[in-house]
C-alpha cells in the first residue's frame, strides 16, 4: 500500500488503513535512529523546508532531523528573520519557496486552516505541523505510536485528554485518530475550555478529573496557556491547578499500568506535577523519540521511497 495523498493536513480525513500504514512504517524508522550510522539514502536528492510561524522546539527540530536521517536536504525558514517581517503575504512566501524546487513543506501557523490554504496554493506536498486550534496530525500519530508500542493495541483502550480542549489542536487530532482505532476517549477540563457539542466527535466530556480518570489506560495532559486565564476563561492558574493538575494521587484512580503523555512543552506544577512527569508511568521522553520515527515514516511515504530500501 502506498500513501496516495498530496498533503497531510489532518487526521480527520485519514482512513484507519492510512494511519496504520504510517505507524507500521515508523517501526523500521525507529531502528534507523538506534543505529550507529543514522543515515539512509532513501530521500537523497529530495528537498524539504520547514516554515514555522509559531515557536516550536520539538516539532521543528524533529522534522528537520527526520529529513536528515533520510538524506533529504532540509532547510528551516526562520520566519522572524524572513521577508514575512517586511509584510510579505503567505501566498507569496509559499510561491517563493516553491520555485526554489522544494518537494515538501512543513508548515505551522497560529491560525486554523492555514495548512489548507498553503496546500491549495502550491504544488509542493504540505504537512500540517499544527494550524491554530484545528489539527496537529503528526502529534496524534506519535501519541498513537507511543501508546501502541507500550500497549500492543489501541482497540478498547480508555484514553483521557485533560485540560484546554477548546483551544487544542492536539486534542482534536488525537480524538480523530483514537476513535478510528476503537478507543474510548474522554475529554476533561473546566467547562469554559470544553468546546461546544464536543460529544458529537464521539467522546465523553467530563468536568471532574477524578471521574474522568476512572479506569483509564492513558492520560494525555495538555498544556495550559496563561493567556486563557487573561481572557477570562478561568479565574487563576492556582484554581486551575487545584482542579486539573495531574498529580500522583490521581493515578490511583486509573488502571495500574496507566500511561501519561504530554505533547510538551510542560508547565510543571500547573497542568502536571514533576513527580508524574518524571514518574514510571510517564511516556513523555519516548513521545519525543517516537516523534522522529513517525515523521521519518511520513516524509518517506510522501516523498516516495519504497519500503525495501529501509529494511536493508
Amino acid at each position: 500500500m502506498k500513501f496516495e495523498r498530496k498533503d497531510l493536513l489532518g487526521i480527520k480525513d485519514l482512513s484507519r488503513e492510512e494511519i496504520q500504514l504510517i505507524l507500521n512504517t515508523a517501526v523500521p524508522m525507529k531502528d534507523v535512529i538506534k543505529r550507529d550510522i543514522k543515515k539512509v539514502p532513501t530521500l537523497r536528492g529530495k528537498a524539504m523546508v520547514t516554515v514555522f510561524y509559531e515557536n516550536s522546539t520539538r516539532t521543528r527540530t524533529s522534522f528537520e532531523i527526520a529529513g536528515k536521517y533520510l538524506s533529504a536536504d532540509t532547510v528551516n525558514l526562520a520566519v522572524s528573520t524572513s521577508s514575512v517581517q517586511k509584510g510579505e503575504s503567505l501566498r507569496d512566501t509559499i510561491k517563493t519557496i516553491e520555485v526554489m524546487g522544494f518537494d515538501l513543506m512543513v508548515i505551522r501557523h497560529a491560525m486554523s486552516g492555514t495548512a489548507h490554504y498553503a496546500a491549495r496554493n502550491t504544488s509542493m506536498r504540505v504537512i500540517n505541523a499544527g494550524d491554530g486550534q484545528h489539527e496537529h496530525p503528526t502529534q496524534a500519530l506519535l501519541d498513537m505510536y507511543s501508546i501502541l508500542e507500550s500497549k500492543g493495541t489501541l482497540e478498547g483502550l480508555k484514553v483521557a485528554i485533560v485540560g484546554d480542549i477548546l483551544h487544542s489542536r492536539v486534542a482534536r487530532s488525537n480524538i480523530y485518530g483514537l476513535t478510528k482505532f476503537g478507543c474510548e476517549v474522554r475529554v476533561v477540563g473546566p467547562s469554559t475550555l470544553i468546546p461546544p457539542e464536543v460529544e458529537r466527535m464521539g467522546v465523553k466530556a467530563y468536568y471532574n478529573l477524578d471521574k474522568a480518570l476512572k479506569d483509564v489506560d492513558v492520560i494525555n495532559v495538555l498544556r495550559i496557556q496563561r493567556e486563557r486565564q487573561e481572557a477570562g476563561l478561568f479565574p487563576s492558574l492556582d484554581e486551575y491547578s487545584n482542579l486539573y493538575m495531574l498529580a500522583q494521587r490521581h493515578l490511583e484512580n486509573a488502571k495500574e499500568d496507566v500511561l501519561v503523555l504530554h505533547p510538551g512543552p510542560m508547565n510543571r506544577g500547573v497542568e502536571i506535577s514533576s513527580e508524574v512527569a518524571e514518574g514510571s508511568h510517564s511516556l513523555i521522553n519516548e513521545q519525543v523519540a517516537n516523534g522522529v520515527a513517525v515523521r521519518m515514516a511520513l516524509l518517506f511515504l510522501m516523498m516516495g521511497g519504497s519500503k525495501d530500501e529501509i529494511a536493508g
Binding site: 503575504s89 501566498r91 486554523s112 486552516g113 457539542e197 458529537r200
Partner: protein, 428 residues
C-alpha cells in the same frame, strides 16, 4: 418608444396578481396590462414560460463608493445589480467618508443618475462617522435623498444612542436599519459557534450575539414607537423575538440574505474565505427557522448584503480574511434554485420578498406594476441553467461561496424606466 412584454406569467403581489398576461410599456411607463394586448409596431419581448415581475429591489448593498472604489464603484455595482435582476438598490453608508452628510449623499445620487445602470437609494448613517455617539442630521439627509439610516457594519453599541435614533426617526416615518451584533460577545469570531466551529478550530460567534441586540432593539422600538428593521437576520432566536414583537404590534421588520437561507456553516470545511461573512453562516436548525419565517411572512424581504472585496482581502489566512459576500449577481438564482425549485418557497412569495416587501419597509413608490407606474420590470427565466462564474461578474468583488455551482432559474431581462438594461447575464 413602445415595448411589449408578451405572454409571461405576471406576478405582482402588491396587486394580488398572478396570471399570464402582457405588459405594454410606453415612454418609460406602464401603459397597459392585460391579456393579448394588441400593440402594432411595438418591440416585443417574448416572455412565454418566464415570470414577469415588478423590478426587484435590494435594500442592502455596499457600493463602496466613495472611498473604496478598488472594491466596487457605483458603475460596477449597479451593473452587477442589473445583471442580477435588480432595478433598484439601497447603498449602505459605510463609505469613506461615511454617508453622514448631504454632500456624500448628493454625490452618490448624482453619480448614480449619470452613470448608474439601476436606481440607487442612499442610506445615511445613524451616527456621525458611524462612531456610535452623536446622531447624524437626519432631516438634512432625508432632504438630500436618503431613504433610511443605518450604521451597518458598525453596530450601535450604546442603548441610549439607539433609543434616540428610534425616537427621532419616528417623526420622519423612516426605519432604522440595525446590524444586530453584541460586539463583546462576537469579538474575534470567525464563524458560527457550534459543532463545526469545534471541528474546524475556528473562534465561534454564538447566535446569542445577534439575538441579544435584536432583543434590545425591539424593546427600544417598543419604548419609542420607532420602526426598527433588522438587517440580515440569521438566528432562530432572532426570528422568535421578531415574531413575538410583531404579535404585540411593535414596529419591527427584517430581511434575510440568500446565503443565510441556503448555506450552512459546514461548508467552511475547506476554510473557503469566500464563505466568511458576518453574521456567519449558521447551522441547519437556524436555516430551517429562517425558511419557516420566509414562508409565514415573519421575514419581510430578501436582501443581499452585497459586500464586494478586493482579492487580497480574501486570498489569505482565514482569520485575516475580510467578512462579506458579493451577492448581487447570484441572489435570484440562489433563491430560485435553493428555495423555489425545491418547493420551499412559492414563486409568488419570492417576488413579494424582492419587490413590495422592501418597498413597503422603505416607503418607496416602487415594487408594483400598476398602469401609469414607472416601468421597472424584472423578467425571470425559471428554467435557465447556468453555473456561477465569478470571473464573469460585473462586480469587482469576485468573493462568492457559490462559485462553480450550477443553478437553475436566472434573471432574464431587467428593464429600468422602460429600457432594457440587462439580458441573460450581460449588460445591454
Amino acid at each position: 418608444m413602445r415595448l411589449l412584454v408578451k405572454g409571461g406569467r405576471v406576478i405582482d403581489p402588491f396587486n394580488d396578481l398572478d396570471q399570464v398576461m402582457d405588459v405594454l410599456i410606453e415612454d418609460g411607463f406602464i401603459s397597459d396590462i392585460g391579456v393579448n394586448i394588441d400593440a402594432v409596431g411595438a418591440e416585443v419581448i417574448d416572455a412565454s414560460a418566464k415570470i414577469v415581475c415588478p423590478g426587484f429591489i435590494d435594500m442592502h448593498v455596499h457600493l463602496r463608493e466613495p472611498g473604496f472604489e478598488y472594491k466596487e464603484d457605483i458603475v460596477t455595482g449597479t451593473q452587477a445589480a442589473a445583471v442580477g435582476g435588480f432595478t433598484a438598490v439601497c447603498c449602505m453608508p459605510n463609505t469613506q467618508p461615511a454617508a453622514d452628510n448631504t454632500s456624500v449623499i448628493r454625490f452618490i445620487r448624482e453619480k448614480a443618475e449619470k452613470a448608474g445602470v439601476v436606481k440607487v437609494y442612499p442610506i445615511g448613517t445613524i451616527t456621525k462617522q458611524q462612531a456610535g455617539k452623536e446622531l447624524s442630521e437626519v432631516a438634512d439627509l432625508l432632504a438630500a435623498g436618503c431613504v433610511a439610516i443605518s450604521d451597518d457594519g458598525k453596530p450601535v453599541s450604546g442603548a441610549s444612542v439607539m433609543r434616540n435614533a428610534l425616537e427621532y426617526t419616528k417623526m420622519f416615518g423612516i426605519p432604522v436599519l440595525s446590524h444586530c451584533e453584541e460586539l463583546d460577545l462576537a469579538r474575534d469570531g470567525e464563524m458560527h459557534e457550534g459543532y463545526h466551529s469545534t471541528i474546524f478550530g475556528l473562534k465561534g460567534i454564538p447566535a446569542a450575539a445577534e439575538e441579544l441586540m435584536v432583543a434590545r432593539d425591539i424593546r427600544l422600538a417598543e419604548l419609542t414607537g420607532g420602526h426598527i428593521h433588522i438587517c440580515h437576520i440569521s438566528a432562530r432566536g432572532s426570528i422568535e423575538l421578531v415574531r413575538q414583537a410583531r404579535s404585540k404590534g411593535v414596529s419591527v421588520t427584517c430581511e434575510a440574505t440568500p446565503h443565510h437561507l441556503t448555506l450552512s456553516d459546514e461548508i467552511l470545511a475547506d476554510y473557503d474565505t469566500d464563505a466568511k461573512v458576518n453574521p456567519p453562516l449558521r447551522s441547519l436548525e437556524h436555516i430551517e427557522a429562517l425558511i419557516e419565517a420566509l414562508q409565514d411572512g415573519t421575514i419581510d424581504c430578501i436582501a443581499t448584503d452585497h459586500a464586494p472585496h478586493h482579492r487580497e482581502a480574501k486570498d489569505c489566512e482565514f482569520k485575516l480574511a475580510a467578512m462579506g459576500i458579493s451577492g448581487l449577481e447570484t441572489a435570484v438564482a440562489v433563491i430560485m434554485d435553493g428555495l423555489v425549485h425545491r418547493g420551499l418557497l412559492d414563486a409568488y412569495d419570492m417576488v413579494r420578498l424582492f419587490t413590495c416587501g422592501p418597498a413597503e419597509i422603505l416607503g418607496l413608490d416602487a415594487g408594483t406594476l400598476g398602469i401609469g407606474k414607472v416601468a421597472d420590470i424584472t423578467i425571470i427565466n425559471p428554467e435557465a441553467v447556468r453555473s456561477v462564474d465569478p470571473d464573469k461578474f460585473y462586480s469587482k468583488g469576485k468573493n462568492t461561496p457559490f462559485k462553480g455551482k450550477v443553478l437553475k432559474g436566472w434573471p432574464d431581462t431587467t428593464i429600468v424606466n422602460g429600457k432594457i438594461v440587462a439580458r441573460e447575464g450581460s449588460i445591454v
